[in-house]
């Protein structure tokens, strides 16, 4: 599945080279070409925005980014529903992957915009950790992962309807939300910072 592990490298002695971010971006750009849509630099780590269909290649590229080490660990897979986002955005969902290079203590974020009903290739062929994480995303957001061996619900009951983490899913559940009258169906904050500020 992965390259053989080199356990002889102690974690603390390697520090990332100063230009590792540029090199990572260049390597991914060389592999993906136009499919690397954007690079965002945040205060915590850089974010590569890619086309969702190319995530497996990105994972491969990031793993062999240096000679000795690379982003070998898939830390986390999650998704964000941008339905209630105040500004315009390309698609409704964003799937977010976090990769870790444990030797050099660096992390990188990969993000892909996904429309409703669109599926994303699975990373289960490369990382065992993708298995349950992708199931959770499917359960909570309803984004399906192509090629996943067992894409069923994980936290909610098997016969549950709807995907609770979506923004149009009412916070108290669909049954109770029916009794709520004259209010916005969906996820509404108790107070809004901006509204209160305008008062």
């Amino acid at each position: 599945m992965n390259r053989p592990l080199d356990n002889t490298i102690p974690a603390r002695e390697l520090r990332p080279p100063a230009d590792w971010e540029e090199r990572a971006i260049a390597a991914v750009e060389q592999r993906l070409g136009e499919n690397l849509l954007k690079v965002l630099s945040g205060p915590d780590m850089i974010t590569l925005v890619i086309s969702p269909a190319r995530i497996v290649e990105v994972s491969e590229t990031l793993e062999s980014i240096d000679e000795e080490t690379g982003f070998r660990i898939l830390l986390d897979v999650t998704a964000v529903d941008y339905l209630a986002w105040p500004e315009s955005h390309p698609e409704r969902f964003a799937v977010v992957w976090h990769f870790l290079d444990r030797h050099r203590g660096r992390r990188i974020r990969v993000r892909a915009w996904v429309a409703e009903g669109q599926s994303v290739p699975t990373l289960t062929g490369r990382h065992h950790s993708a298995n349950w994480a992708e199931r959770e995303v499917f359960d909570m957001m309803g984004i399906s992962f192509e090629g996943h061996p067992n894409l069923v619900r994980i936290l909610m009951p098997d016969d549950y309807e709807g995907h609770p983490q979506r923004k149009d899913f009412p916070i108290e559940g669909p049954e109770r939300a029916k009794h709520r009258q004259g209010e916005l169906q969906g996820n509404k904050r108790m107070t809004s910072w901006k509204e209160l500020h305008d008062l």
């Binding site: 974690a11 915590d44 070998r72 999650t78 529903d81 203590g105 950790s129 994980i154 909610m156 916070i171």
Partner: protein, 422 residues
């Protein structure tokens, strides 16, 4: 020991002979025909050794688990959804209920994520107090997980000794936060209140008394023949597989990988302290046990260094947009009253953006991924729970072992259902 008489031996032989003769010699118990004899056993969800509400549907061949299907979600409260309607400060209460064995570690993880998003840093004194409480919680977490590992195997004594020690730590934390289990420790930008006057004294006394209990527990369990038989080479996992499953924390270190967030990407004031990262070799139950034991000693070292060097000074940021004013000022000064009202009603303005921050919790890398739209609360929170990834490997770990091995394995992974389901 009494020796059976010859006559008795003969009778036993006679009694069992009919059975062995009735088994046809050509029957191979491991052939496919034996699959019909497989038994499906539900381990959990309400089983005392399943630590909350874990559920395994195990298929047995004889006593060997050949297949297992983990089911989770029995404690799912959807804190990630709740976070979307809560404010930044309110979500702190949700983090208490994730890993409830060491709640302050979750609290500090969340606070650091929000503080980094705000671009602020808590004062030195607050950081030292946080470090002390967090490392105490790490010890408390390891105390209970290792104590319970013994309990699940029938060794109750060590657990009680450890629990008495845990109780003392509880009292120190209760003095500081006012709660024992759901601590809601700290506030954005520092602490809720300064430490009590006898905090340093209490911690010193606790640090002084701990090694004796540690030694007692070590004596009673670490070289216990029965314990070693039950744990050594039971459900091992090699480093590469563990990494692929997303293992972090003590369970990864037991497999020989010295990854620790405190060293790899240091946060708070960990670079100022000297401590080691203990690692195991085989990743079996026994090495998970030993790694946790050694980690307690390292945490004790950190507490010792922190409590001796705890600086004086402010314990929260003096910024009215972030910290609540003193209660006595709220009752006497108009500005403070307004400030209190504004902060409580409007919350802390966190700039829009996304942020991932991870800390080394007792179980491994606890990460908070936050998306903010500039509102009173997070637009989206996702918690990277270490337990979630441990438990995803459970089918691989349990297969080939017996049910008693399964109990030891689940115990040693220290899967907390509140964190697993979140």
């Amino acid at each position: 020991m009494t020796r059976r008489s010859e006559r008795e031996e003969h009778r036993l032989d006679e009694a069992s002979r009919w059975y062995w003769e009735s088994v046809p010699p050509e029957l191979d118990l491991y052939e496919e025909s034996a699959q019909e004899d497989r038994i499906v056993v539900n381990i959990g969800p309400y089983h005392p050794a399943m630590h909350g509400v874990l559920h395994n549907i195990a298929t047995l061949e004889g006593e060997v688990i050949v297949e297992t299907e983990p089911h989770i979600g029995y404690l799912h409260r959807s804190f990630e959804k709740l976070g979307e309607v809560y404010s930044w400060q309110q979500f702190l209460n949700c983090t208490d209920r994730m890993n409830y064995v060491s709640a302050p570690m979750n609290n500090v993880g969340w606070l650091l994520a929000v503080e980094h998003m705000l671009g602020i840093e808590a004062p030195k004194r607050a950081q030292y107090v946080r470090t002390i409480i967090v490392e105490m919680s790490r010890i408390m977490d390891h105390l209970i997980s290792m104590g319970i590992l013994g309990v699940d195997m029938g060794a109750f004594t060590g657990f009680l000794w450890y629990y008495a020690e845990r109780e003392k730590a509880y009292q120190i934390i209760e003095k500081q936060t006012g709660a024992r289990l759901t601590t809601t420790f700290g506030r954005i930008g520092g602490l809720e209140r300064d430490v009590p006057l006898d905090f340093v004294e209490d911690v010193r006394a606790w640090v002084k008394g701990f090694p004796q209990v540690f030694k007692d527990f070590d004596d009673v369990l670490s070289r216990n023949r029965i314990f070693i038989d039950r744990t050594l080479n039971v459900s091992p996992i090699d480093a590469e597989t563990a990494l692929s499953y997303g293992f972090t924390g003590p369970n990864l270190r037991a497999a020989g990988v010295d990854y620790d967030v405190r060293k790899a990407t240091p946060y708070m004031c960990y670079p100022e302290f000297e401590f080691e990262i203990p690692t195991g070799e085989t990743g079996d139950v026994y090495s998970r046990y030993t790694v946790r034991l050694l980690e307690m000693i390292e945490s004790l070292k950190i507490i010792d260094q922190a409590v001796e060097n705890i600086p004086e000074g402010p314990w929260r940021i003096e910024d009215p947009a972030i910290s609540l004013p003193d209660k006595k000022d709220v009752y006497t000064r108009m500005e403070s009253l307004i400030n209190h009202f504004k902060l409580t009603m409007h919350g802390v303005p966190v700039p829009p953006g996304e942020y991932y921050h991870s800390t080394e919790a007792a179980n491994g890398e606890l990460g908070f991924y936050i998306v903010s739209d500039g509102g009173v609360g997070p637009y989206r929170v996702h918690v990277r729970r270490p337990c979630f990834y441990y438990y995803s490997a459970i089918d691989r770990l349990l297969i080939g072992g017996s049910i008693s091995d399964a109990i030891a394995c689940v115990s040693s992974l220290n899967v907390i259902a509140g964190e697993l389901d979140c």
